[in-house]
């Protein structure tokens, strides 16, 4: 077998002899530079890439948000057109959810989960790379709609023969991140080309295929993480010893694999409506638009918890660290996370209280929605219990985590307010709802994720972000955020509806919209400074020790930056927060006798995940382009599917590969000695 001489352990993958795999290609193990990043299967590098792309898209979504706020800063404003506004809010929501928060959470999953469970990698390293690149290309397909939109606005598209100014309306999606049918769908009868008339332009097709591709990326990543967490725990790392962040990753991944199929099917149905004249949501043919809402929110509500739970996991790591005290009520925090995930599937219709469900379903969903406040409250109580009796250090991550609790609590309270269906019929689709979910998703999730960034950044890069800048940035974020979204509670109750690109003077909304815009800019500056501080730190920051915070979980036992093999010897776990217990003498952390000169098994790098993902890029661009009428675009779709198949096929044939890497092992006591010395 061709891999045989990989069996000899090497000190570095650059020492590997070039050798051909089963398909006659040399595995790209010895690359450095950009080719190393493109072919990497190292969960830490993949995590960093996820984080970098997520932060980039956070800024894109933020610029979109500032466009929205600028337009709304004064009444009857004409800073941008109605259509541009609709495209901006659609892309802002979609970008922040699918390209900002989810990938940033995925960055943490990737980087942390194997380290926290004492593993050397994820269960399927190449699948992990595939998830990353599929996400990147899905994001590109979604945002390619902007390129077409700008080409259309600048008149450049007119020079093409296929361009028909009478037909095109929007190129970037303009139907909201929820894309309610039939606005996103069709009406009337299909013509001979099997197309029914549509309310929106090809932007919706970009949206459909973009979300579909992003869904595949999320699903693949989630299968991988569940497998990793269930299967690759170090010896002694029982489920009830898992760090809470890992637990929340597990719950989130289960939510993803169970919730995404609903949107996948809904997107397929919508695509059939638009491309082939099917009648799923076409009311003139008997389709029920309300079905789209059900399918969308069966996905969409768990999605909210998919966004929130990782941030809750981060906070559950940060609070004990900086309170110098273990998490209060670990089992109940884990259990409440699982309950939130479970109940998340039972409350979707509270997004649809105004659609005429009838009193019984409305009452049922009202009560279930109130019920979900209980496990959420339990989490807050336990975080409070964690601080109680501790020694709270106000480091930047801690300040951001406390901000998370505070803002999330506010968002939770306004959530209780519209769990009541009659009250919600005044609040639904008003600025009150915008205030609510931004308190949850921005004040909550973004602060949580920023807290995580500042917490683990020293571990990721071995450099400490400047604390003074971090304090300023956190202050600006919290101030700007409250200025931007606090007044929206009032605006909503004063009757300002969502998703309107302008409003008249005389309705009493002028002042607070202006204040909100100022707040949004302060928030934008704060987030930019916070991110800029991190980017600067990654390259120029001050070097720091491997455990600057007196950390509790296993990742802090490793050098910073973490070597590619993670653990020179695999740890054996005896209790929760094993590294903290080890440092402070409660339980010594012992290690297995692996690694060293015998080496540890490392997976080989591969081009194939990238190649397979490129198939999605081609197919994803080809589909909306064929909807536009670009000649031969249909062949691009077929070529894309071909590339996808080729990539997967070669992926299977080249096999997992792998080589043995020597790890530097300090002479350590054998488990028996260590146990004796305890």
């Amino acid at each position: 077998m061709s891999h045989d001489h990989h069996h000899a352990p090497v000190a570095s993958r650059y020492d590997l002899a070039p050798e051909r795999s089963d398909i006659g290609l040399i595995r790209p193990d010895r690359f450095t530079g950009w080719r190393d990043w493109l072919t990497t299967v190292d969960h830490k590098k993949i995590g960093v890439l996820y984080g970098a792309f997520a932060m980039f898209f956070f800024l894109v979504g933020g610029v979109e948000a500032l466009g929205i706020r600028t337009q709304l800063s004064r009444p009857d404003n004409d800073f941008i057109t109605a259509r541009m506004y609709n495209q901006l809010f659609t892309m802002h929501g979609t970008t922040m959810i699918f390209l900002g928060v989810m990938p940033l959470s995925a960055a943490f999953f990737n980087f942390l989960v194997p380290l926290q469970i004492g593993a050397r990698d994820v269960a399927f390293p190449r699948l992990n790379a595939f998830s990353l690149w599929t996400f990147v290309f899905g994001a590109f397909v979604l945002n390619a709609s902007w390129l077409f939109e700008f080409a259309h606005l600048s008149g450049w598209l007119k020079s093409f023969g296929w361009y028909n100014a009478l037909v095109y309306t929007d190129f970037a999606p303009a139907n909201g991140w929820f894309s309610y049918a039939p606005l996103s769908g069709t009406f009337g009868q299909a013509d001979a080309a099997l197309r029914a008339p549509r309310f929106t332009g090809v932007g919706t097709d970009f949206w459909i295929i973009g979300i579909q591709i992003l869904g595949i990326a999320s699903l693949a990543a989630s299968f991988n993480f569940i497998c990793t967490i269930l299967n690759m725990r170090a010896k002694g790392m029982t489920m009830m010893r898992l760090p809470v962040f890992t637990w929340m990753t597990l719950v989130t991944s289960f939510l993803i694999i169970l919730a995404f199929p609903a949107i996948t099917v809904a997107l397929i149905q919508l695509m059939f409506d638009r491309q082939f004249g099917a009648n799923f949501f076409n009311p003139s043919a008997g389709g029920q638009p309300v079905l789209w809402q059900h399918l969308f929110w069966i996905f969409g509500h768990p999605e909210v918890y998919i966004l929130v739970l990782p941030a809750m996991g981060i906070v559950s790591e940060v609070l004990p660290t900086f309170s110098g005290k273990s998490l209060f009520g670990y089992p109940i925090i884990v259990f409440s996370g699982a309950v939130i995930g479970f109940l998340g599937f039972a409350v979707w219709s509270h997004h649809m209280f105004t659609t005429g469900l009838g009193p019984v379903p409305t009452a049922a969903f009202s009560l279930l929605t109130m019920a979900i406040a209980v496990p959420t409250g339990v989490k807050i109580f336990n975080w409070l219990g964690t601080i109680w009796g501790g020694r709270v250090r106000f480091t930047p991550p801690m300040v951001l985590s406390l901000g998370f609790i505070w803002m999330f609590m506010c968002g939770g309270f306004s959530g209780i307010m519209h769990s009541s269906a009659p009250a919600d019929s005044q609040q639904q689709d008003s600025y009150f709802v915008i205030a609510h979910f931004h308190y949850v998703l921005l004040g909550g999730v973004l602060l949580g994720l920023m807290s995580g960034l500042y917490f683990w950044f020293p571990k990721i890069f071995g450099r400490m972000p400047k604390a003074s800048v971090a304090y300023w940035a956190s202050g600006l974020v919290i101030l700007g955020f409250n200025l931007a979204f606090g007044p929206m509670h009032y605006l909503g109750l004063a009757g300002q509806p969502r998703r309107t690109h302008t409003y008249h003077a005389g309705f009493g909304w002028e002042t607070w919209n202006y204040v909100a815009t100022i707040g949004a800019f302060i928030l934008g500056i704060g987030v930019f400074i916070a991110f800029a501080n991190l980017v600067w730190t990654a390259f120029r920051g001050e070097k720091c020790s491997s455990d600057p915070w007196d950390g509790r979980t296993l990742e802090w036992s490793l050098p910073s930056p973490v070597p590619e093999y993670n653990f020179a010897r695999s740890p054996v776990i005896a209790c929760r927060d094993a590294f903290f217990a080890h440092k402070h003498g409660a339980h010594r952390l012992v290690y297995e006798q692996d690694g060293g000169e015998a080496g540890v098994h490392m997976p080989s790098q591969s081009w194939m995940p990238l190649l397979a993902s490129c198939g999605f890029l081609l197919a994803g661009l080809g589909m909306p382009m064929s909807a536009m009428g670009v000649p031969h675009a249909g062949w691009v779709v077929i070529a894309g599917l071909g590339v996808l198949f080729l990539g997967i096929w070669l992926w299977a044939l080249e096999g997992p590969g792998g080589y043995m890497l020597k790890t530097p092992v300090a002479p350590a006591p054998a488990p028996a000695e260590a146990a004796a010395s305890r």
């Binding site: 029914a196 004249g277 043919a285 098994h601």
Partner: protein, 227 residues
């Protein structure tokens, strides 16, 4: 068996279940939700519009008349039998890599899968000529998309098994890893089969129940009761 593969898979997992098998179970859990959504869509619309669809000439058509239940029962039986052969193929691999037996059985699965797909293609063209299209009714949309998605699953399964079949001639399919690869494909195949049983019940058999069906009171269905 390759050494590298040995490194990758000999490490015991925390649950004792192989990674590949676990991830396939997770995928199937996800796929359950996927088909659940499609089947629910079909059943919801069937409840709203119980009497069939209107063809191109404007005639009310009833799906009971459209369906060829004998043919569909036959293809269902074929798919069930393919699952049996798949189980034999997996068992052959587990009994120490009996490649000949594996090839014989898996070839049977492939042929049966192709017969099933052939029946479906025939059924689709037949229904199309009878006037049921994706465009002309909600029933057409849900029917074609649901059964078509299942057909795609079967086609992917057949492709997978064909690749495994040819791979078995390279001599690299063997041992624990080979048995595992075949078993994972088997899990997928059984799942697709089980889903078909549910689709067969929820889409086809259900039309023959109740007063409108062949076991009903024989009275013609009430036209015009569409909404």
């Amino acid at each position: 068996m390759s050494h590298s593969a040995a490194h990758a898979h000999e490490a015991p997992t925390s649950t004792g279940i192989d990674h590949k098998k676990l991830i396939m179970w997770l995928f199937l859990a996800s796929d359950c939700m996927f088909f659940g959504t499609l089947i629910s869509t079909h059943l919801l619309y069937r409840k709203l519009y119980p009497t069939g669809f209107t063809d191109a000439e404007g005639h009310q058509q009833f799906v009971q008349k459209l369906f060829d239940i004998e043919l569909t029962s036959f293809s269902t039986f074929i798919l069930l039998m393919s699952s049996f052969l798949m189980a034999l193929a997996v068992s052959a691999m587990h009994k120490g890599g009996q490649l000949k037996s594996f090839r014989r059985n898996v070839l049977g699965v492939i042929v049966f899968g192709l017969i099933f797909l052939g029946c479906q293609v025939y059924e689709f063209t037949h229904f199309y000529h009878q006037g049921l299209t994706v465009q002309n009714s909600v029933f057409g949309s849900t029917f074609y998309v649901l059964t078509g998605t299942h057909g795609t699953h079967v086609a992917i399964g057949v492709l997978w098994l064909v690749l495994l079949y040819f791979y078995s001639f390279t001599g690299k399919l063997g041992g624990h890893v080979g048995a595992l690869d075949v078993e994972v494909a088997g899990l997928y195949w059984h799942f697709v089969d089980i889903v078909w049983i549910i689709i067969f019940t929820a889409v086809y058999l259900v039309e023959y129940l109740g007063p409108d069906g062949i076991w009903g009171n024989g009275l013609p269905p009430v036209p015009g009761v569409t909404r």
